[in-house]
Amino acid sequence: MLLATLFESGVKIEHYMVLATALFVIGVFGVLYRKNAIILLMCIELMLNAVNLLLVAFSTYFGQADGQLFVFFIMVVAAAEATVGLSILVLLYRNTRSTDIRLFNKLKN
């Protein structure tokens, strides 16, 4: 029923804005509150994907390709970031045998 009304009225740009904001906020809260470093990485990816969604939505709304081009750059950079992040994690895992960020506290006074 709800889906049917949504399709009849058409999905507007506002819906994309709300969805992207919701995804982004989920990502931010994940980064702030989760303790597992791999989940932190996934939350950062979620934030970037929320941005991608928003950019594509605006790009279609304006009828120009700039936003969609930007999405490709974000994807490439996100892949590079994930590579570096996972290798850093492997390095730390060798020392602590865990990915819990609470164990990484050697740098406090």
């Binding site: 941005v51 930007f70 590079a80 850093i88 730390l92 740098l107």
Partner: protein, 460 residues
């Protein structure tokens, strides 16, 4: 554009030169590339014309400001490669990767100074940041180095996410990524749309994150402490310089007009006050040398942010930022070179005791650099602070008074370190021998710190 390509190509060459297993070859090719880039930039500044005219791209414009900042980036990268060389003679493994990453990072910094659209800004930011995540963890045997790397990576990519989200909103409000077109679109608006305001706030938050100002400064002491000293020097000088110039350009071109400027300026003023007090009061009770430097750099970020609230010089062609960041970079290079030469694994401030007896030259370099950080008159740090504060005085005099009070507080902890350097050690310690390259780098840093202020009249 030529200098950019030269730095990138010599980074690639030094990466492949590592196969020869000779550290001097890697470091030599990187240094030769940076020297060539410096010469090309100076030539372009003199003649106003690039060596290869046909190499242009509309997303990058090497105007005078970009050239000056690229020059500073090349000089400081050269010095930092010089002070890091000793480590590779002892442990030649991974020299190529380290130097190559440093050169790529410098390339990203140069892109960030010359961008004219958001594509190039974003790519420059990431080319600058991703190598540094790796470099911060380059000391693989040390857990603290890996931990610094992870912390820098998480905060850095989090800040990138926030920046992109803000950028998406700005794109939604204006429909373009080019700086000039964003400016025109914002000027045409009758009332500011809330979408644009959200975007500007998010971009400013990511900027505050990247340069390490309060309330988003918590990562920088840990990262500065854990990373290898030469990388700390690179982060404190080159990265800050590029980030500040890039954001100064973005905020002055796109968001620096009328109502929108008042909107974000209010938030920034509060952040400057917090940054100054947090940086200084935390620095007072540090016992570790690199942590002290981290908090001192937070304070310096606070001073530099005054430029964003000064109505007079808030444009990206103003030489004040260049002068401030360059003189700050020289003193950071000097002090980091001293820290590397002392080679104290505990990294305590007390470890500097008796330095005057162990090596008088080191003590002089350390003292002059600290005086410059504190802003005591004969050094260029004083003149840089003076021009910065006097340009902010007209629009925000009460903020300058707060900054001056903080300047007074900061003299206490810099003087404490100077007194430690000058005081005799409890037991006899062996003398420190310096390699010719280290001495050359220190001499350049010393001359830069003492004589750089003579350049100031030429800029006006």
């Amino acid at each position: 554009m030529d200098a950019l390509l030269i730095v990138f190509a010599s980074g690639l060459i030094s990466l492949f030169a590592a196969f020869a297993k000779k550290p001097w070859l890697v470091v030599g090719s990187a240094m030769a590339g940076l020297l060539a880039a410096i010469i090309v930039i100076i030539g372009q500044l003199q003649t106003g014309k690039a060596f290869f005219d046909f190499l242009t791209y509309e997303g990058l414009a090497f105007d005078q400001g970009a050239l000056l900042f690229s020059l500073a980036i090349c000089v400081l990268s050269l010095l930092i490669i010089g002070i890091g060389y000793e480590r590779f003679k002892e442990n030649p493994e991974h020299t190529g990767e380290y130097i190559g990453l440093l050169m790529f990072s410098a390339t990203g910094a140069m892109i960030m100074t010359a961008y004219t659209d958001m594509f190039m800004f974003f790519l420059g930011l990431e080319i600058l940041s991703i190598p540094i995540y790796v470099m911060a963890g380059s000391n693989k045997a040390d857990v603290r180095s890996s931990e610094a790397s992870l912390k820098y990576f998480l905060t850095g990519s989090f800040a990138t996410g926030i920046f992109l989200f803000g950028l998406a909103w700005v794109y939604g409000a204006t429909g373009t990524f080019k700086l000039i077109e964003i400016q025109m679109k914002i000027q045409e608006m009758e009332t500011l749309s809330p979408i644009l305001m959200i975007g500007v706030l998010l971009i400013m938050a990511s900027f505050i994150f990247k340069v390490g100002a309060a309330p988003f400064h918590f990562w920088s002491p840990d990262v500065y402490d854990g990373a290898p000293p030469a990388v700390t020097g690179f982060m404190a000088s080159v990265v800050k310089m590029a980030a500040f110039y890039a954001f100064l350009k973005m905020f002055s071109v796109c968001f620096g007009l009328g109502e929108l400027m008042d909107f974000w300026n209010g938030a920034l003023v509060v952040m400057i006050i917090i940054t100054l007090f947090v940086g200084n009061l935390s620095a007072l009770r540090q016992v570790k040398f690199k942590r002290l430097l981290a908090y001192s750099s937070i304070t310096h970020v606070g001073y530099t942010l005054l430029l964003f609230v000064s109505q007079l010089d808030f444009n990206y062609s103003s030489p004040i930022l260049w002068f401030y960041m360059f003189s700050y970079g020289f003193s950071i290079v000097g002090i980091i070179a001293v820290a590397i030469a002392v080679n104290d694994s505990e990294d305590r401030i007390d470890g500097l005791k008796g330095l005057g007896k162990r090596n008088p030259f080191l003590a002089i370099v350390g003292i002059v650099s600290l005086l410059s950080l504190a802003g005591i008159p004969p050094t260029s740090g004083f003149f840089a602070k003076y021009v910065l504060f006097s340009s902010a005085w007209a629009s925000a005099s009460w903020l300058v008074i707060i900054a001056l009070i903080n300047s007074g507080i900061s003299i206490y902890y810099y003087l404490k370190v100077i007194v430690t350097i000058a005081s005799p050690a409890e037991q006899e310690q062996e003398k420190i021998k310096l390699s010719p390259l280290t001495i050359a780098v220190m001499l350049v840093a010393l001359v830069g710190t003492l004589g750089f202020s003579f350049i100031l009249p030429l800029l006006y």
